[in-house]
Symmetry: C2
């Protein structure tokens, strides 16, 4: 199989983003890390993914600076994978995918998980892009503009 | 290669979402469709992806109800791929990935594209999840809760 084309030097931020996390397992590892999972075995059990694939994806996420490896917080011999500041900043992307999934990929009344505020238990409300007047923006209201190097 | 595990019946909306769009090309096809691209050859040229991969991803997106096929708007023999309402609703996910990419994947001053409002040219501001009091929510302020079937 040919090596995939790299999008790392693309001038579109979406292309560079999916080059790093445009992979089902990478995104679900980030989701799990946000839920507090940090050990290889726990990721493996929760995702049901093959160990070699998990190992590959964790290494890539560390190399790309989304996860950091640190000694286990309980003093055991385990390693822990924790989100870096860059990895944590993917929260809006995870929320957006979740909210799209909630709305479009479940039958009415079908069981699914929801995201709630820890303190109050209130459901996290829909996150949408807004224009400068506070109106909801759709793709058709926007345009992509190239910005030259400074 | 073993067939990938299906996440389609998972009770996590993030898992179901990445089952459909957790693939670099699928997400970039959706991005291009939001930018107005609709023909096979135009997707192919813009993405630089192999025709068989593009064909496979377009078919899957049609099958999953994110794109619809229709006769060309100019009356020619071409087919056009257009976003369905479900596909259009991925706009916040694309915006979130873009904004993460803009912030974390470019060197200071490096050339990149930005998203602006069509009418005013103003840059689309950061989209973040907020709690019920309007404060920005981080992953650590939230928790995933299972919701039973109704």
């Amino acid at each position: 199989m040919a090596k995939r084309k790299s999008l790392r030097t693309d001038d579109c931020p979406v292309a560079r983003a999916v080059d790093l996390v445009g992979d089902r397992w990478s995104m679900l590892i980030i989701r799990d890390a946000m839920d507090g999972i940090s050990r290889f075995g726990d990721f493996q059990r929760n995702l049901g993914v093959a160990r070699n694939i998990l190992s590959d994806r964790l290494s890539a996420l560390v190399e790309d600076g989304l996860l950091a490896v640190q000694p286990a917080s309980d003093g055991s011999a385990y390693q822990e994978y924790v989100l870096t500041s860059s990895g944590e900043s993917l929260f809006p992307a995870i929320v957006a995918l979740r909210q799209w999934g909630e709305r479009h990929l479940f039958a009415p009344g079908e069981a699914h998980s929801i995201l709630v505020e820890k303190g109050t238990g209130k459901r996290v409300s829909a996150m949408l892009p807004h224009d400068h007047e506070g109106k909801v923006l759709k793709a058709t209201h926007t345009v992509v503009k190239k910005l030259a190097a400074k």
